[in-house]
Structures are given as structure tokens and as C-alpha cells.
Amino acid sequence: MSISFIIISMIILLGAAAAVSFSNLIHCALSLAVAMVGLAMLYLHLGAEFVGFTQVLVYVGAVSIVVLFAILLTRPAPFSPGVHVPWHGRVTGILVAGLVAGMLVGAVLGTPLTSHVGQRVITVKQIGMELMTTYAAPLEIVGLLLTAALMGAVILAAPENGEKKP
């Protein structure tokens, strides 16, 4: 475990924690982007170059933008009554999450695993070959899924007939 790993994990964890705890939604989405950049750095650190750059391209370049748009599109009407959030709901959630975290960490630490020490590299060419041979069917299915998701999202979010523009 190197210093860079610790720094990267701090970025990821702090970014993630910020993403779920800020009260301003825009700040949350931006923190999510920070966490995603951290994750990309982690992938680079682990040698998965392609995944790292894809992570940035997809999450920072697309997903966080979409989230930001959604936030701007769903701002509550002015003078709407704020939602009263019961404190115990929050505490229960955090407690349950903490419990799960404890269990998971315990499980991980309790499992003997050996780490492979040498460097592992996967080139883009290899990935491309794999995608076109072994993973050809998943690739097609993902393509289909993305198309379906695109159309589904458009149909869902498109204004219905006769609906007045907000």
C-alpha cells in the first residue's frame, strides 16, 4: 500500500462522503465528479488505463452533466413547504450503513487472500480483440441496452401531449 494509494482513497472517500452529505444538490453532483475522478486515478494506479479514461469520459463528461441538468430541471417551486426530514430516519440509515461497512471490512480482513505482485497491463488492442471475440455477445447486448435506455429516457422525460411547458 503506497502513499499514492492512500491519497487516492482519501480523494475517493471524501468525495463520496461529500456527495451524499452536502445540502446543496449542485455541490453534491460536483463532489460526485470529484469522487469519480478519484476512482479514475485509482484505476490508473492499478494499471487499467482504458477503464480509467473511460470512467472520466463517462462519469465526469456525461453522467455528472446529466445529474446537473436533472437537478436544475427539478428545482422545487418557490414557497413550497420544505420536506420535514425526521432525524431518526437519517440516523437509522447511517447506522445500518455503518453496520454493513463494519461487517464487510471484517469479512475482507478475515479472508486470507494473496495478492499478485507483478505488473499487469492490458492494452487497448487486447481489450478490442476481447470485445470482438469472447465478449461479442455482451457487447451487442450492451449496445441494445444503451439504445433502449436512450429511447426510454427520451420517452419518459418528453413532455406529454397537451402538457403545458413549465
Binding site: F50, A62, I65, L68
Partner: protein
């Protein structure tokens, strides 16, 4: 101690003579020498720092030069001399501009998100500079040789969208937010043709690495014509699509809607002043240079010489010559074309460029497979088929873009 010093001097002299003997590799040799001075564990860091320093100084200089060139060039095109006061022929104008920007008051609007307001231009500049890291500037002169360099370029480019949004949102100004939204919509729309156009080069080379893409463009056809991608049908169309996308991505005229001064004050830049504004300016110019560098790398043969007998000129000179040519083209276009309307902008991207770039990808595949043709008229046949496959859809797409609407003649009513 003395011996050590004399050894160092001897090696320095050797390096210098090597650099003089082989100017093509001079920067590489020089860097290697400087790095070798430092102890082993520092060498990686020092090498990186040298690259960074070189990049920032060169591109900072280019930025300054470009602002000057832009102002002079625009002036000439409009029959004015352009800036000519500071220094001989006004060449110190960028310095004066910089000083002015530095000394201006930094205004942060009341109720603005101060931190985000500050961080947005920083991220923008950072990401623009990051994109410079993977471009091969000369033989053996890519700062980072990545296997997926093109992906890196676009990943870093994608982050600029976020920065633009930040700038718009953090300003708490409706003009800023509108401008930012426009900018994001435009960037996302034009990223597709940009990516698709560059993928045609990737498809043919079979690698995302910019170094190998440049390497594949070395050599000459028939002894005179360079094997640049732009000199193939798919490469030519790809280059044009790429350049249109590049204009839009760097928010340059005629795609400068996000900062349209006459409609949106200055878009997401409205609430920025002083040095932050200068940073935005710098990011825009560096982004423009970076994307021009990518265009040079993908389509214009990178650092390869255009004619065989000029091969002795150092490779990086060729790269920067091509880069500056493209930058001048940017300025030229800015002086020529008026700004598009928002719907025209989107129609151009989605109805014309994206279909065309898909067709271009198909033509690239055809080109790749028809390379094996060996009969007598193979080359003209390839050209002919590729030309037809591109020109016919182009005429159709272009025709349906042309607006058939005729607007009613405007009438003016003067005060009586």
C-alpha cells in the same frame, strides 16, 4: 570534487555538441542530460517537471503570440494595422494585456458561490493543459506515450464541460447560466462528430496511441505526396468534420454562441474579471491550440515533413509550423463567418455532421479492406467509389440543411 565537476563539464559539452549535431533530437538529448544530473529516485519527477515546464513555457508563449496574431490579423482583414504601440510593431502587446488583467479588480458577485467561482477557471485551464500532454510534438517527443492517448485527450476535454457549467452556475447570473447551458449543449453535440471523425483515423491505424498514428503517416506516395491522412478521401472529409467540431468545441466563431456578446453579454464569462477572466481566455486559446495539435496529429501527418527534400528540418519545427497554420486558419475563419443561430447549430451537428461522419467511418472501412486490391485500376477505383460514397450523401444532407424558409421583408417605421 574537482574530478566530478570536470566529468560533468565534459558531459555537458558532449551533450551540447550532440544537440548541435542532431538538432532534430536536441530537446530529447537535453532533457536526458538534465535528468541524469539528478539522483536516481528523483529522475522521474524531474523528467516530468521538465516536460511540464517546457510545455507551459512553449504554449504560454504561443498563447501570447496567438493573441497578438489574432488582433493583428483581424485588424489587417478589416483594413486596420492592429495593435502597434507597445514595443516595435506592438509585439509587446500581450505583456501589456497581461499586466492590465493582473492589475484589474477581481469582482466576485454577491451571493455567488465564491469557491466554485474561483475553482472553475482553474479547472478549465488545468484540463486544457492536460490535453497537451499526449500530443507527439516531434520524433520521440510525446510528453506521455499512452496506449490510449486519444481517449485521454477526450476524457480531459470532457472535463472542461463541467468547468464551464461551474462557471455559469457559480456566477448566480441568468446570462451566465444560459451561456453555460448553451456551451454544454454545443460541446456535447459536437463531441460526437469530433470523436467519430477521429475514430476513422484510429480505425485505419488500429491504435488509440497518437504516436503510432503519427508513425503510420510517415513516408511518401510516388515519392512526392506525403502519406498524410488528409490526402485520402475519408481523411479529407474526416479532417473537415473534425475542424468543424474543433471550432465548436473551442467555442470559436462561428460557433461562439455560448459567449455571444450581443445576446448573452458574454455567456459564462459575464461575471468574471481580472485574472480569472484571463484564465478563461488562456484556456480557450490553449484548448484551441491543443485541438489543432490533435488535428495535425491525426490528419496532417504530425511532425512529418511535407516534402522529402525538407526532411532535415527538425521534426518539431514542422509540427509547430502546421499548428500555427491551423491557428491562423482559426483566426481567418473568425474574421469571415457570422455567428450561427442556435437551431442551425444543432441542425448542423445532428442532421449533417453525425450522419456524414458515420458514412465516413463506413468509407474508412472500405478503404481499409480495399487496400488489398491489386488489379490495374485499383487506386482510381478506390478513389472513385469512396468519393461517390461521400459526395452523394453530402449533397443530400447539405440540401436538406439549406433553409427553404423565406422571411418576410422587414419594414422599418421611422419616428415622424
Amino acid at each position: 570534487m574537482n574530478e566530478l565537476f570536470s566529468e560533468w563539464v565534459r558531459r555537458a559539452v558532449e551533450t551540447l555538441s550532440e544537440m548541435l549535431r542532431n538538432p532534430d533530437q536536441a530537446p530529447v538529448v537535453g532533457k536526458a542530460f538534465i535528468v541524469s544530473v539528478f539522483p536516481e529516485f528523483l529522475q522521474g519527477v524531474v523528467g516530468a517537471f521538465i516536460s511540464i515546464a517546457a510545455l507551459i513555457s512553449v504554449f504560454g508563449g504561443l498563447f501570447a503570440l496567438l493573441t497578438l496574431m489574432e488582433r493583428k490579423g483581424l485588424g489587417r482583414i478589416q483594413n486596420r494595422p492592429g495593435p502597434n504601440r507597445v514595443g516595435p510593431f506592438g509585439i509587446l502587446q500581450p505583456v501589456a494585456d497581461g499586466l492590465k488583467m493582473l492589475t484589474k479588480e477581481d469582482i466576485v458577485p454577491f451571493r455567488a458561490d465564491a469557491f466554485l467561482h474561483f475553482i472553475a477557471p482553474v479547472i478549465l485551464v488545468m484540463m486544457s493543459l492536460l490535453t497537451l500532454a499526449v500530443i507527439p510534438y516531434g520524433r520521440n517527443m510525446a510528453p506521455i506515450e499512452l496506449d490510449s492517448a486519444l481517449l485521454f485527450f477526450f476524457a480531459a476535454g470532457a472535463c472542461t464541460e463541467l468547468a464551464v457549467f461551474l462557471a455559469g452556475w457559480a456566477s448566480r447570473n441568468k446570462y451566465s447560466l444560459l451561456g453555460a447551458m448553451r456551451a454544454i449543449a454545443q460541446m456535447i453535440s459536437y463531441e460526437l462528430p469530433l470523436l467519430l471523425a477521429s475514430f476513422s483515423a484510429v480505425l485505419l491505424v488500429g491504435s488509440l496511441s497518437l504516436v503510432s498514428i503519427v508513425d503510420s503517416q510517415g513516408g511518401f506516395m510516388l515519392g512526392v505526396l506525403p502519406k498524410w491522412n488528409v490526402l485520402t478521401p475519408w481523411g479529407f472529409v474526416g479532417f473537415i468534420i473534425f475542424m468543424i467540431g474543433a471550432f465548436a468545441e473551442s467555442n470559436r466563431s462561428p460557433f461562439d454562441l455560448p459567449e455571444a456578446e450581443s445576446e448573452l453579454i458574454a455567456g459564462h464569462l459575464t461575471e468574471y474579471s481580472g485574472f480569472k477572466y484571463a484564465l478563461f481566455f488562456m484556456a480557450e486559446y490553449i484548448g484551441m491550440l491543443a485541438i489543432s495539435g490533435l488535428a495535425v496529429t491525426l490528419f496532417l501527418g504530425g511532425w512529418h515533413a511535407p516534402v522529402p527534400f525538407l526532411g532535415w528540418v527538425p521534426s518539431y519545427c514542422w509540427f509547430f509550423a502546421k499548428l500555427l497554420t491551423l491557428a491562423c486558419f482559426f483566426i481567418w475563419v473568425r474574421a469571415t463567418l457570422p455567428r450561427l443561430r442556435a437551431d442551425q447549430l444543432m441542425a448542423l451537428a445532428w442532421k449533417c455532421l453525425i450522419p456524414l461522419s458515420f458514412i465516413n467511418l463506413g468509407v474508412t472501412v472500405f478503404w481499409h479492406y480495399s487496400a488489398a486490391w491489386s488489379f490495374a485500376m485499383a487506386l482510381p477505383a478506390r478513389w472513385g467509389i469512396a468519393f461517390l460514397a461521400l459526395a452523394v450523401p453530402y449533397t443530400f444532407l447539405a440540401r436538406q440543411l439549406g433553409t427553404k424558409k423565406t422571411f418576410a421583408r422587414r419594414t422599418y417605421r421611422f419616428a415622424e
